[in-house]
Amino acid sequence: MRNLQEYRRRITSVKDLIQVTKAMKTVSAARLRRTQNKVINFKPYAAKIRDMLAHLASTIPEAHPLLSPTPEEKPLLLVISSDKGLCGSFNYNIVKESEKYIKEREGLRLMVVGRKGEEGLKRIHPIEKTFKNIFFKLNFSHAMEITKILIDGFKKEDWDSVFIIYTQFFSAARHYPTIERFIPIGGVKEGEYEECIYEPSEKEVVDDLIKHYIELEVWRILLESSTAEHAARMIAMDQATRNAQDMVKDLTLEMNKLRQEKITKELLDIVTAIEAMKKTQT
């Protein structure tokens, strides 16, 4: 049977744990707000770029290679996970979804963002490149770096299409892994637009704008995945805090029972002793 000392020690250590999980929850909540702000700031910019791209798509005579369909026989898969754990089933879901996709496709090449994705997928499929530690200080140059690799490989015909698996963010409690085709770009609406001047030339503007559009899509996905990660961690830490609080409650109850038992026993001992003494006196 446990003694009181042991109970006390366990209760203190669980209480310390609560402080840690609570702090982590607060940090995640703050980070979640910060990334959500980034998403809000990014939206008008992305809308304007999409508008420009639509304008250009309606004026260029022949379709750009990045905009026209390909056989999709040599796909590249980019998996967006996180660098750190303790975020519930966030990484597990991503790895499971990727595994399913990898098994369906042959001749697939794989790149991963985040350490956790690498750990989960390296046993299943060789990984060509892992982008590590980018979520710690996420900024737009990360999106530029990844896009450069994606486009260079496409131009060299290392792959003819790019798919991305990432966690789509709907709300703090709702985020699921999703797969999207990235390259070639689909769904650019053509609109009616007036003539205009291109500076320096139409071809250069089109090339650069398409590249930038992909950068923005990568940026959007990194932001979304990062938002979902913070939300997942916030919820996981909230759950952990609650579990630990329950544990403290249970432990305290058990400890009190034990203490009462001990007191009763001691009282009983005293009473019996007194009774015995009375008997011997008479």
Binding site: K38, N41, F42, P44, Y45, A46, K48, I49, M52, H55, L56, N139, F140, A143, M144, E194, E195, C196, I197, Y198, E199, P200, E204, V205, D208, L209, H212, E215, L216, W219
Partner: protein, 130 residues
Amino acid sequence: MKVELLTPERKLFLEKKVDYIEFPSKSGYLGILPEHLPMIGILDIGILKLIKNSKKEKYALEGGFFQWKDEKLTLLSKLAWRPEELKRKELEKERKEAFEILKSSSSPEEVEEAAKKYSRASVFLTIAEG
């Protein structure tokens, strides 16, 4: 006429009314006065100058796109700074590093990269305050 400056990470200003705009396009600095024809183009690294009631304002831009339509110029820059956000010391260091590479390196790619960095740092230093 109006001008707005956005980056993927933040809005610097929206619908600012100005009298004259000068900005770095890929084929050199462009000045815009009212009633210019519609235009779409690529931004280069350089300084954006705005004049309103003979008061000047400057911003550092690094690449991106611009669109002039309906008397409004939309600048979508990949990165942009206000003069007070540029760190003089960091820029000087960057310029020095690029200069060293330019002197010692022989690979054309490296030289091109360094030349870009050198000119970026030099241009931004002209308006840097911090």
